[in-house]
């Protein structure tokens, strides 16, 4: 017997999808986005970059592997709401500790299932990401639409404060060879883990930390993490990054961190129509001409300052020459920057994966190389 309550999903342009209650019963609002990964829902749900977003999963069978104690990418689920086609009622995986729905319910996450997620995705693809509401309390679409239209837009939203750590903490490598200070804009657990694999001990700082705080322990490099919201609001972090660049501290940014480095170098950000959210995105690394299949989660991107820059020609900035080092092969979106005259680089995607392929793991090796070269240069000087 279908025991689920009816639920509705209403987009700000008035399109209504009907489904059934999933997870916590209630009402929720956010920006509607879709994720195309076929695996990794636990990682997606706990990725702080999804803060404020209602995520629709295009893969139709969700929850099959339940919820385990190892794969959370942060301390909690961050999505504002969850939309799936078919929610599994049992779990089948040797690591599973409980069901997905139990976890959503216990964390108070409102979801909806039995939705034509493909129609929703096609709609978002054509009309662009937009505000959305889900209700499993009432099926009054008009009322919900009014509420949706009253919620704030994602553009201009500063969400970093909501997800960042309150206090600094340290993730120790087994044998520390280097130390890195990470600015937590919504960092995922796999990042310090990947760094630790390379002998890097990471100290994670709150997003509002100052340059002095970040550099207080004398780190070998600073890492700018991924995170939610509009990068145009991240003025503090941009200023901090400019200070790091001035001091010649090695910087590695990913996702939101890429946008911050870009802004620090004078580039602009813009909102993509519907973003990249999935684990099958092909990126060309212009250093090696190799293609990597990568994990993405971004609704904003950097704009190359010129067509030549977009095509890979180095361009001049306040901090010397910079190259668009990575591009997405699907749509030519700028996916990475490398400073040619400063020890800094960044990518728009997720080398730490989780979920997603490990093709971009080499970017952490590049950080080690960058630290080594910078140290060498200093020793020479």
């Amino acid at each position: 017997m279908s025991s689920r309550a009816p639920a509705i999903l209403v987009l700000e342009d008035g399109r209504v999808f009907r489904g059934e209650a999933f997870g916590s019963v209630g009402e929720t609002f956010g920006e509607a986005v879709f994720n195309t990964g076929m695996t990794g829902y636990q990682e997606t749900l706990t990725d702080p970059s999804y803060y404020g977003q209602v995520v629709a999963q295009t893969a139709p069978q969700i929850g099959n592997t339940g919820w385990n104690d190892e794969d959370d990418e942060s301390r909690r689920i961050w999505v504002a709401g969850y939309v799936v086609r078919d929610a599994s009622r049992i779990t089948s995986n040797w690591r599973a500790k409980r069901g997905l729905e139990d976890e959503l319910a216990s964390q108070g996450v409102v979801g909806i299932c039995e939705v034509d997620t493909r129609a929703l995705t096609r709609h978002l693809r054509e009309a662009g990401a937009m505000r959305v509401g889900i209700s499993s309390r009432s099926t009054d679409a008009e009322a919900l639409l009014a509420k949706v239209r009253a919620t704030p837009q994602m553009a201009g939203a500063n969400h970093v404060g909501a997800v960042t750590t309150a206090e600094p903490y340290t993730y120790e490598a087994k044998e520390t060879r280097y130390t890195v200070a990470a600015l937590d804009l919504g960092i995922k657990r796999n990042t310090p883990r990947r760094l630790a694999e390379r002998g890097i001990t990471t100290t994670v700082y709150p997003a509002e930390a100052t340059a002095e705080q970040v550099l207080s322990q004398g780190p070998d490099a600073v890492f700018l993490s991924n995170g939610p919201g509009d990068p145009a609001t991240a003025d503090h972090q941009v200023a901090l990054t400019r200070e790091l660049l001035r001091r010649g501290v090695p910087v590695f940014g990913i996702c939101f961190g890429n946008q911050i480095l870009g802004r620090a170098l004078g580039l602009e950000t813009y909102k993509l129509k519907f973003g990249h959210r999935g684990i099958n995105q092909p990126v060309l690394d212009r250093h090696t001409d190799k293609i990597e299949i990568t994990s993405h989660n971004h609704g904003f991107a950097l704009r190359a300052p010129s067509a030549a820059a977009q095509a890979g020609e180095p361009f001049d900035t306040e901090f010397g020459r910079v190259q668009v080092s990575h591009v997405c092969l699907n749509d030519d979106v700028v996916e990475g920057l490398t400073c040619l005259d400063a020890p800094a680089y960044s990518v728009q995607y997720h080398p730490e994966a989780a979920g997603g392929p490990h093709d971009a793991d080499y970017l952490f090796d590049r950080l080690v190389e960058l630290i080594e070269t910078t140290k060498g240069a200093k020793a020479d000087a």
């Binding site: 017997m1 279908s2 999808f17 879709f34 195309t36 990964g37 076929m38 695996t39 990794g40 636990q42 990682e43 295009t58 893969a59 139709p60 069978q61 099959n64 592997t65 385990n68 190892e70 794969d71 086609r85 078919d86 599994s88 009622r89 049992i90 779990t91 089948s92 995986n93 040797w94 690591r95 039995e114 034509d116 997620t117 493909r118 129609a119 995705t121 096609r122 693809r125 999935g278 684990i279 099958n280 995105q281 092909p282 060309l284 001409d289 190799k290 293609i291 299949i293 092969l329 699907n330 749509d331 994966a353 989780a354 979920g355 997603g356 392929p357 490990h358």
Partner: protein
């Protein structure tokens, strides 16, 4: 990196005849490869002995050699064509083995030909078990734990360490002799004890068992810049221990977390790199311990495989096409994704639907064969379905398989089914394990109990349990209301299933009417590789019950072509060939073609073939819904909608739907379903023959044993009995007496007034003749006349044949033409018809007329250079034969009945799957031919004389033709006279004769020396069976006695030949033909010629004559 400019000419090796484990998926991949290479401006030479393939159509290569895939023949082709490189990774194991043989023979070096795709080292690293194991370990992967032991103490310690069960393999024994699975300590002592004794090195390998583990496959692609993508993950619903080809499989994987999936991906990519497949596709299999997650690498195929075809259809990512482009130097980022146009092939497809593949078995064709599913593949075909959920996809796949059961609950449970015996049955994997699992759950078993019995993952079992819960709701509901029906349709229930649960709804038609009244119609979604992230430009659709449909409006006149469903014996690639031809011909003249089919192996289900592809079950419900969607959207766009539905080219599956579709208002074009029915109806057809003055063997129809006995008594034994309306001779037998007849009626058929049994006089020693023709109602065109080599009584699908006929005189041929024309007009054929005749004592008997595409259409089309199926499709849509002659599709004058002396002989020979099967006791099964079709595939040999053509055909099937050595002869009394001449020729050619006493005596009296061999049953030391088993015999000639049956000497001799893989001839005509072939081959006269040369000659001769 752009295309290599040093490659101008590629030799593509095909996969030869369809066989179990190697079906039309390699026609799909080969066709794609040839098309791509030619588009890239390269010259393509192709070798493939299978005429029923699209790839061997002359327009797909510059030079097409329908020749045996043997080292000698390929060397001749290389010498003549001088290709720069060979692409052997798209033609299955056959092509890969051919490439290895060419390398080993030094031919690649001799002619300076490069292997592209995978080089020799990579092939060996991927295929050699030991080398592959080392590769896996070197990249940090795991293989089953094992240890070599020399004493029982070592064995016991090892088993303690590994835990039971274990696999025990003695070292250096022939063919894995003495290997076994030990479940208990007693088994260990017995198997390892014997193994140590049998092993010449006193050595056994004890290996951890992965039986019952979860099984996965990854399909990967790599380019020359070392970019790698995973195209698809596939999870086997059936656990380890069942061959993946025999397993129900699902894509994408359902029960892996991202962490586990990515680990599998990492290991897969590392293996691909280490093996060193330069460019193209490969497939890697993994096993995962469900309790701990430990992952083991099982094996890899360093080439495109059956799973690649499945993955291509499942994702919309055309692996073979991309592999061909990578092989000539492109990189993944340089190849556009066909479906999105805007994005490159360098990505990993993501699915927003679930794909389920279900295998199709035909154990009923091989009495005595062990139907247990093991690591040896036994299925002959497969059906695939797409749905938005697993439940929906599974139910659609189950009703796509063309079995008696069309999904759960459509057949009654077996009598006496209990929870206990159902759970017990689940302990052995079998055809329909999921049906049994469903029954167990319905009878009260828990998911845990069923999992314990069959090891299918609980997630899948719970999905089935949910279907049962919904079933119960449907049964219990006071009213089947909209909400409930909607849920049922979303879960994939067919109207027929719902009807079975709600009798008051007046059957499937009643459910459909109710559903339509409630507005419950499916929508059609698109397979787009990207889960809707980008716009799709390729209309590749599947049905589901959701909100939004994606059928694009079009005002062009549309024609639907119904495909042939899963391959099975009697219904194979030949029908797909005809369907593809119909699409090609109709597309060319401007129709919008719509293909409906559910077989993932085929060219017809390539989204490049038709304008629109619907991957749907070929059931009345699913087909009519596609029709409605296309027709309504077409009309709404201001066009005429669907103006024709072609059902005559896809064999039995679409034909079986024809009448209902027509009654439902679908515009069936071509020969009317009524006319097709009339030709099948004994009474109506008999009256037609009488009217036309044609003769059929005496016969009658019976709906009960009493009637059957009367008919048989009237016409005299032996009689040929069969159910009406079948393809491939299902249930057909020659019956010699009343007792056997009684047994047949009770056992093999479900005789009823709707399904009568046909009984005909069996014409002993008659020549059987097959004719394919076209008729447009006013004009007639004879496509070709084939003379069977085996006598009437051997199913035409199993018989080898020659075209043009090799012993028929001009008068007979004229008579055949006249008879066939009369029949075509009399029946009202609008398209193709196949007629079978028997010629006995100068009397031509009409055996049957089938007004539809036959299995021989591709063979005839290739032998005569006339595309019959294309012409049939055009005729069905109103074109006239005169028009098609003028266009050049048909010969301008004359037809297939007037082949001149310059026309070469084409021979069709079949491949029989006997060696794939074993009895429960492990011995071979009977290899005798009869009226029931058993072959899985066919080959074609073309040459100037029959002997040479037959030799090529034999080589193409067996890969060898003995030209000297030992021949064993044992024939039935009636054949003793006829065997003398062939054996004399064999002796002249240097063969040594072994014979049983009776046969030997006759030979002796004709001056032929022989070594006597005892019949097996006489129990003496040297007997026929052990002689054959010892491998000392190169050729077996044995004809069955008048009353064939199991456990006779003939049976044991034939099955021994099957097991020993010795050429075995079971008819006297076959022996004569084989002798001619051996004679020709030993003169070394075999030369190759391309189909293009042949066709130029054929069409040129006609034009010169015109």
């Amino acid at each position: 990196m752009p295309k290599r400019d040093d490659l101008k000419h590629i030799l593509v090796i095909g996969s030869g005849p369809i066989q179990i484990g190697q079906a039309c998926e390699f026609d799909y991949s080969g066709t794609q490869a040839c098309r791509v290479l030619r588009e890239e401006g390269l010259r393509v030479t192709l070798v493939n002995s299978n005429p029923a393939t699209i790839m061997t159509d002359p327009e797909f290569a510059d030079a097409t050699y329908v020749e045996p895939i043997t080292t000698e023949v390929i060397e001749q082709i290389i010498a003549k064509e001088k290709p720069d490189a060979i692409l052997a990774t798209l033609g299955g194991q056959t092509a890969l083995n051919a490439a290895v043989a060419l390398h080993d023979a030094g031919i690649l070096t001799k002619y300076g030909v490069e292997l592209i795709g995978a080089d020799m080292d990579a092939i060996q690293r991927g295929e050699d078990r030991q080398q592959f194991k080392e590769v896996v370990l070197s990249v940090g992967g795991e293989v089953p734990r094992s240890a070599v032991c020399h004493t029982m103490d070592e064995v016991r310690d090892t088993v303690k360490d590994l835990g039971l069960p274990v696999v025990i393999r003695p070292s250096f024994t022939m063919g894995g002799l003495g290997s076994g699975m030990a479940h208990t300590w007693e088994d260990v002592d017995r198997i390892a004890g014997n193994g140590l004794a049998e092993s010449p090195t006193t050595e056994v390998l004890i290996e951890e068992s992965v039986l019952g583990w979860k099984e996965y496959e990854l399909e990967l692609m790599r380019d020359r810049d070392d970019n790698v993508v995973v195209v698809c993950s596939i999870e086997n619903v059936d656990p380890m221990g069942v061959h993946t080809g025999d397993s129900v499989t699902v894509a994408p994987s359902m029960t892996l977390t991202d962490r586990e999936y990515q680990h599998m991906r990492d290991v897969g990519i590392a293996i691909l790199r280490e093996v060193g497949v330069d460019t193209g596709g490969c497939n890697i299999q993994f096993a995962i311990d469900p309790a701990t997650g430990r992952m083991i690498v099982i094996e890899m195929n360093p080439r495109v495989s059956r799973s690649s075809a499945l993955a291509s259809k499942a994702t919309g990512f055309p692996i073979a096409k991309i592999a061909a482009k990578l092989a000539i130097g492109y990189t993944l980022d340089e190849i556009p994704n066909d479906i999105t146009k805007a994005t490159p092939a360098a990505f990993e497809p993501t699915l927003d639907y679930v794909v389920v593949k279900v295998p199709r078995f035909t154990f009923e064709k091989f009495p005595g064969a062990d139907p247990t599913l093991t690591t040896t593949m036994k299925s002959v075909g497969e059906a695939m379905s797409l749905g938005r959920t697993f439940q929906q996809a599974l139910q659609k796949a189950l009703r796509s398989t063309e079995t008696k059961a069309a999904g759960f609950w459509t057949r009654p449970d077996p009598v006496g089914a209990t929870l206990e015996n159902t759970l017990e049955a689940l302990r052995t994997a079998h055809d329909g394990t999921l049906y049994t699992a469903e029954r167990a759950l319905r009878l009260g078993a828990t998911v845990a109990q069923v999992h314990e019995a069959c090891k299918i993952d609980p997630w899948f079992l719970d999905q089935v349990a949910q279907l049962i819960e919904l079933r119960d709701e449907i049964e219990a509901a006071a009213v089947a209301d909209e909400a409930l029906l909607r849920r049922a349709k979303r879960a994939g229930f067919s109207d027929a299933q719902i009807a079975a649960l709600r009798p008051e709804l007046a059957g499937e038609d009643g459910v459909r009417r109710l559903r339509h009244r409630l507005g419950l119609r499916p929508v059609f979604k698109t397979v787009d590789t990207c889960a809707a992230e980008f716009e799709a430009h390729t209309p590749y659709h599947y049905s589901t019950y959701e909100e939004e449909t994606e059928v694009a409006p079009s005002n062009r006149p549309k024609v639907m072509i119904l495909g042939s469903g899963p391959n099975r014996i009697g219904q194979g690639i030949e029908f797909d060939y005809s369907c593809v031809h119909a699409v090609q011909a109709l597309r060319e003249v401007g129709y919008e073609t719509i293909m409906v089919n559910c077989n993932p192996e085929t060219v017809s289900t390539d989204y490049d073939t038709a304008d629109r592809l619907y991957f749907e079950p070929l059931t009345f419900e699913d087909v009519t819904e596609v029709f409605t969607a296309e027709d309504e959207s077409g009309r709404a766009a201001g066009g005429p909608g669907v103006i024709g539905v072609v059902v005559q080219l896809g064999g039995q599956t679409p034909l079986g739907l024809a009448e209902r579709l027509q009654d439902a208002g679908l515009p069936i074009v071509g020969t009317s379903p009524k006319a097709i029915d009339n030709a099948e109806d004994r009474g109506v057809f008999g009256r037609l023959l009488d009217d036309l003055g044609l003769v059929a063997p005496d016969g009658g129809t019976a709906t009960s044993y009493e009637e059957a006995r009367e008919v048989a008594a009237r016409i005299g034994y032996p009689v040929l009995v069969r159910p009406s309306y079948v393809l491939g001779g299902r249930g057909m037998e020659i019956v010699y007496d009343e007792d056997t007849l009684a047994g047949y009626i009770s056992r093999a058929t479900e005789a009823s007034p709707e399904h009568p049994v046909l009984i005909d006089r069996f014409l002993d020693d008659a020549i059987e003749i097959d004719v394919d023709c076209l008729c447009d109602g006013e004009d007639f065109y004879l496509g070709g006349i084939m003379e069977h080599i085996e006598e009437a009584g051997v199913h035409s699908g199993d018989s080898s044949c020659a075209l043009p006929p090799i012993t028929l005189g001009a008068a007979v041929i004229e008579q055949i033409r006249a008879y066939t024309a009369k029949l075509a007009f009399g029946i009202g054929v609008r398209g193709l018809m196949n007629v079978q005749y028997a010629l006995k004592d100068e009397q031509l008997y009409v055996l049957e007329a089938n007004p539809r595409a036959s299995r021989t259409v591709p063979f005839v089309s290739k032998a005569t250079a006339v595309p019959l199926a294309k012409a049939a499709a055009r005729i069905a849509l109103g074109a006239k034969i005169g028009e098609l002659r003028a266009e050049g599709m048909l010969l301008p004058e004359g037809d297939g009945s007037d082949a001149g002396p310059e026309v070469p002989i084409s021979v069709k020979e079949v491949l029989l799957p006997f060696k794939r099967f074993r009895t429960v006791e492990g011995s071979g099964i009977d290899a005798v031919l009869g009226p029931e079709m058993k072959s899985t595939g066919e080959v074609m040999g073309i040459d100037s004389s029959f002997g040479l053509a037959f030799a090529k055909a034999t080589l193409a099937v067996y890969g060898k033709l003995p030209t000297s050595g030992n021949v064993f002869v044992s024939v039935a009394d009636r054949d003793k006279r006829a065997i003398v001449f062939p054996v004399r020729r064999l002796v002249d050619l240097g063969f040594t004769v072994y014979a049983t006493e009776g046969t030997g005596l006759v030979l002796k009296r004709h001056g032929i020396d022989f070594t006597p061999v005892a019949r097996h049953s006489s129990g003496e030391a040297v007997d026929a069976v052990s002689l054959i088993a010892s491998g000392e015999v190169d050729l077996v000639i044995t004809t069955p006695s008048a009353s064939p049956g199991p456990r006779t000497d003939g049976w044991e001799i034939r099955s021994a030949a099957v097991v020993a893989d010795v050429s075995c001839v079971t008819t006297i005509q076959g022996a004569a033909a084989a002798t001619q072939a051996i004679e020709s081959a030993s003169r070394g006269e075999i030369r190759v010629a391309s189909l293009q040369e042949l066709h130029r000659r054929l069409r040129g001769a006609e034009r010169a004559a015109a």
